[in-house]
Amino acid sequence: MKILYFAWVRERIGKAEEDIDVPASVATVAELAAWLSKRGEEYAHAFVNPKVVRAAIDKTHVRPETSIRNAREIAFFPPMTGG
């Protein structure tokens, strides 16, 4: 599964994207964030306050409880501050 990181999520994890084999037991966006945060200190730091991290599946905003089944690309990022 392709996972993208933006802004300070990207900076904390230290990479903009990666391909990861996610176990089938990880079913939702929130579970994926929890699973990632156990991969190392940099991930734990990025997801220390999971409520402020937003996500998109295949370039569409999703909620923490959204299923990641069939997702090709999942992105994690802080609240948007454009314009």
Partner: protein
């Protein structure tokens, strides 16, 4: 009808973009243009530059879908949105929203709706360069409230 969304690193010519919306037409009575500009301060602190990061692909699609939503809400003759990414210094234009309609109420409302969206929901992230270093700008709750009011209106209709 001219509906265009561009995400680009390069500066844009706000005047030329607004002029393009009305060129050769005589059914447009109102053009509203909003230009967002890099200020030399962010929440009271001096900044020397800002950098906008975005999610390529998602930004274009999301903004275009909000332009479509604006078209269903108001009778619009044209919309142009340009959002830059990369590093900008104070005084540089960051974003342009230009709307055209027969009447001013639709042009004003659509421009505000689209700007509220861009500020809160479009996948862009702003980092500023303070004297003490670079920091990511935190989302302002005032901006979220401004975007929320469109949902309330929709729910009330």
């Amino acid at each position: 009808m001219s509906f265009a969304v561009r995400i680009q690193r390069e500066p844009f010519d706000a005047a030329a973009e607004s002029a393009r919306l009305t060129k050769g037409r005589t059914d447009i009575g109102a053009v509203v243009s909003f230009t967002g500009i890099c200020r030399a301060d962010e929440k009271g602190e001096a900044i020397s530059a800002l950098t906008l990061e975005h999610y390529p692909g998602m930004a274009e699609t999301e903004i275009a879908s909000h332009v479509e939503e604006a078209r269903t809400r108001w009778p619009l003759a044209g919309v142009t949105i340009i959002h830059r990414y990369g590093r900008m210094v104070p005084g540089e234009d960051i974003v342009l929203v230009a709307t055209a309609s027969a009447h001013r109420d639709a042009a004003f409302a659509a421009a505000e709706f689209l700007m509220d969206y861009l500020k809160t929901r479009a996948p862009f992230w702003k980092q500023v360069e303070l004297a003490s270093g670079k920091v990511w700008v935190e989302a302002r709750s005032a901006d979220d409230l401004a975007a929320e009011r469109w949902n309330e209106k929709s729910a009330a209709e």
